[in-house]
């Protein structure tokens, strides 16, 4: 310890040290060459079903393809765990994935129903978020922003705010929409009643045409094929366009309630309130992701065509129930604590017949109530107001009822597209064999249980459960039977005013311009198969 500088470091000592270090380094390097350490990769995981010896195919595997330009749904790969639930919904429930041949053509077959989003446990698949666009137009004082809410939203959005499944929150939802800054809050129930007037009249015309052999009333070119199919569910419509284009002349030419309200808002409402239709922004709150696709269909611009600006959309933005809930939460509003408020007049009245559009079999039941009136001139008997045969979660339901002067009216209801196939294949076979139609009218809904369990509804159970569906159905029928002031579409005062002041008569010229539409044969975009 005396003095470090006195330590003798000889040249020999230094070279010994250097040599030892060199030999150690060389040995370490050589030993490294023998054992190369851990190669990169393989630190992660995959779900259990994918970790099995051999190359046997896994039963539940992969995921659905989604076009990045899909207007309805998007996917965030970072959240995808390849659980296979989307494929389960798309193939086994909706019979879309797997029901077309490979190689594909120039389209990723998707009916935009959003059931995959409802099933996805991690939320990797979700609706395309249009909230910011809507907030932007609300903030623009030059624009008159109107909003409509679908029948099924009022019994589901409460679930997003901690309320029990199926809570009825119609008034609270209206209050929240007004607080968000929408200029007018209208009800899609109004246009559901309007749809019944149009679609019921169309059905009556088709039945009469079948009796006489040629079209009556309506338009000369109106299709006369029976059974008539409902056209409210855009996922179902696209499904038919893809897989059953030969049956499109059965599809009612009526637009869906969303699009009817959209085209009436920018014509009738604009005229009544003396607002330039170009300044109106039309927003729809829907339980559905396919409604985003429907609003974007090129032909959905009737009001624009009438105003001389074909680029004007009938409905500008569609938000799902989930998006509206996020929007309300984002503004710090507690929906459960709001005082109920009524819809705005002119397009705010709705009947019990309109509310049940949300349930599978509901459009059928509503159409029968008013169809009975249109055929007989009398309101239906009490028994027809609770048509239990078409209610409930069974995939395919049928009923036959006697209508005076017409005879037996045979109807069927299918919800879930896999179930729809049963009826469609039967109709196709009957037509090919030249057999007479089994039914007069069939209601198809893309989603199992109808709109109450639509692809844009709150994810109260994942995957969606019948328990939640039943709670919501119960509430829908409660509104119809107990809360609604009227239960018949043809008694809707605001709808009658619309006909008297603007449209003329159901299926008339103006109605055809604004409320009816055409369909597209999409079969060239895929090689359809009848089995997966």
């Amino acid at each position: 310890m005396d003095n470090k500088n006195d330590l003798p470091i000889s040249r020999r000592f230094f070279l010994k040290g250097l040599g030892a270090a060199g030999v150690t380094g060389a040995l370490a390097t050589l030993s490294g060459c023998k054992d190369a350490g851990k190669p990169s990769g393989g630190e992660g995981w995959t779900p259990q079903q994918y970790n099995a010896p051999g190359s046997w195919p896994v039963q539940v595997r992969g995921r659905v393809p989604i076009d990045p330009r899909n207007p309805s749904i998007v996917r965030d790969d970072r959240k995808c765990i390849l659980c296979g639930q989307c494929t389960e919904a798309c193939e086994r429930v909706q019979s879309v994935e797997g029901f077309y041949g490979l190689p594909i053509k120039n389209d990723i077959t998707c009916v935009n129903c959003g059931q995959c989003a409802l099933w996805c446990p991690t939320g990797a698949i979700s609706e395309r978020d249009d909230i910011s666009k809507v907030l932007q137009v609300i903030g623009d004082t030059n624009l008159h922003v109107i909003v409509q809410t679908a029948p099924a939203t009022r019994i589901a959005i409460g679930e997003e705010f901690g309320m029990p499944a199926g809570s009825i929150v119609e008034g609270k939802m209206v209050a929240a929409l007004k607080q968000l800054g929408f200029d007018r809050v209208f009800d899609t129930n109004f246009s559901a009643d309007l749809t019944i007037m149009e679609e019921g009249t169309e059905l009556v015309n088709r039945i009469k045409a079948a009796g006489t052999g040629h079209a009556q009333g309506g338009h000369g070119h109106a299709p006369t094929a029976l059974p008539q199919f409902t056209s409210c569910s855009p996922g179902w419509v696209k499904f038919c366009e893809y897989f059953y284009p030969d049956l499109l002349d059965h599809m009612s030419t009526c637009k869906s309630p969303q699009q009817m309200l959209g085209s009436v808002a920018k014509t009738y409402y604009a005229k009544k309130k003396n607002i330039d239709p170009r300044q109106i922004v039309s927003v729809a709150i829907m339980p559905c992701t396919a409604k985003k696709f429907e609003a974007a269909r090129t032909e959905m611009n009737s009001a624009g065509v009438m105003a001389g600006t074909p680029e004007l959309r009938d409905v500008d933005f569609v938000l799902t129930t989930r998006e509206l809930a996020r929007m309300i939460k984002g503004k710090g509003i507690d929906l459960a604590k709001l005082d109920p408020q009524p819809y705005d007049s002119l397009m705010g009245e709705g009947t019990g017949a309109a509310v049940i559009f949300a349930a599978t079999g509901g459009v059928m039941e509503a159409a029968i109530r008013s169809g009975y009136y249109l055929l007989t001139g009398q309101n239906p008997p009490e028994a027809l107001l609770n048509l239990n045969a078409v209610r409930g979660l069974q995939g395919v339901k049928e009923a036959a009822l006697n209508v005076p002067g017409v005879g037996e009216l045979r109807v069927a209801v299918a919800s879930g597209l896999g179930n729809a196939r049963q009826l469609l294949d039967q109709i196709r076979a009957d037509k090919q064999a030249g057999r007479p139609p089994r039914y007069h009218f069939i209601e198809f809904m893309a989603c199992p249980g109808g709109c109450i369990s639509g692809g844009g509804q709150p994810k109260t159970s994942v995957p969606p459960s019948d328990w939640v569906r039943k709670e919501r159905l119960q509430s829908i029928y409660t509104i119809d039977a107990k809360l609604a002031k009227k239960r018949l579409s043809h008694e809707n005062k605001e709808v009658m005013d619309l006909y008297a002041d603007f449209l003329g008569k159901p299926n008339g010229d103006m109605a055809h311009k604004l409320l009816h539409t055409t369909y597209t044969d999409r079969s060239a975009h895929l090689t359809a198969k009848t089995k997966a």
Binding site: G32, C33, A36, G37, K38, P39, S40, G41, G42, E43, G44, W45, T46, Y50, N51, A52, P53, G54, S55, P57, V58, R61, G62, R63, V64, P65, I66, P68, D77, R78, C80, I81, L82, G84, T87, E97, L102, P103, I104, K105, N106, D107, I108, A524
Partner: protein, 266 residues
């Protein structure tokens, strides 16, 4: 037996499950904005070991169609990257995968230059970067399992098995469906053969495949010169040493004559 994969691109509908499986299994990060794994812009980069690229083509009936191509390291039978690596950081395993050992890598990136398919990527944005490429899930393969991307495919686009059997299978599929497939198995002979083999109904060049590659193995090509190097080196050593000794002897004799006067010897 060396493993391989047969990819039938006519069966792919572009769901991208394989790219997600790769990210999950190898814990790779996502950057869908700058480095997408799926679609027209998809490309192999350091964080993307496999991608599915989309291509607009015309089908046999003349209609516009979409095709998807799953891309990753082709795991050459005789890999140029491994041949070029100075330190043995890239190695072809007996089971088929060509795997990268980051502990050995000195970062010279010769492999990136050597690869005929431009597969190895470099982690340019890291302080201590590594080379990065598909490892063909070698631990899964060693455990008798399929690579992750193959296991998750909903359409069974890919078949995992012994490479020799898959070559037979590929030709059988072409023979069974001559109207559909292009009569070529990509990877059977390219650069002397790759573990991953492809079938297509479109010309491979249209799906972004590099078709202008030699049909023989690249290391075999360079081996023609490299194999002669030891002989050349030893020969030159012998020749130069000989010259040196001859010169030395000649000099010492010449010096000996000068030193005959009796100068001091070294």
């Amino acid at each position: 037996m060396s493993k391989g994969v047969l990819v039938d691109m006519t069966k792919c509908f572009g769901c991208g499950a394989c790219t997600v499986a790769c990210k999950l299994w190898n814990e790779k990060k996502y950057d869908e904005v700058n480095k997408p794994t799926l679609g027209e812009q998809a490309q192999l980069v350091d964080i993307n070991w496999t991608v599915v690229s989309k291509h607009d083509v015309t089908d046999k009936s003349g209609h516009p169609a979409w095709r998807f191509a799953k891309k990753q390291c082709l795991h050459c039978v005789d890999p140029a990257c491994a041949s070029s690596c100075l330190v043995g950081a890239l190695r072809k395993t007996e089971q088929g995968p060509v795997i990268y050992h980051p502990d050995l890598c000195v970062g010279c990136r010769y492999c990136m230059v050597a690869c005929p398919f431009n597969i190895p990527k470099y982690e340019w944005d890291k302080s201590f970067p590594k080379v990065s490429k598909c490892q063909m899930c070698f631990t899964r393969v060693a455990a008798g399992e399929q690579p992750a991307c193959i296991a998750v495919c909903p359409n069974q686009v890919m078949t995992f098995g012994d490479r020799d059997a898959l070559v037979q299978e590929a030709h059988k599929r072409i023979a069974d469906n001559k109207e559909l497939y292009v009569n070529h198995v990509f990877g059977e002979t390219e650069v002397g053969g790759t573990a991953w083999l492809y079938l297509s109904d479109q010309p491979f060049a249209k799906l972004g495949f590099k078709t202008a590659v030699p049909q023989e193995s690249l290391p075999a090509y360079t081996w023609q010169i490299l194999s002669k190097l030891p002989a050349i080196l030893l020969g030159w050593t012998a020749i130069l040493s000989g010259i040196y000794f001859i010169n030395k002897r000649r000099n010492s004799i010449a010096e000996g004559k000068q030193d005959s006067t009796g100068g001091p010897q070294a």
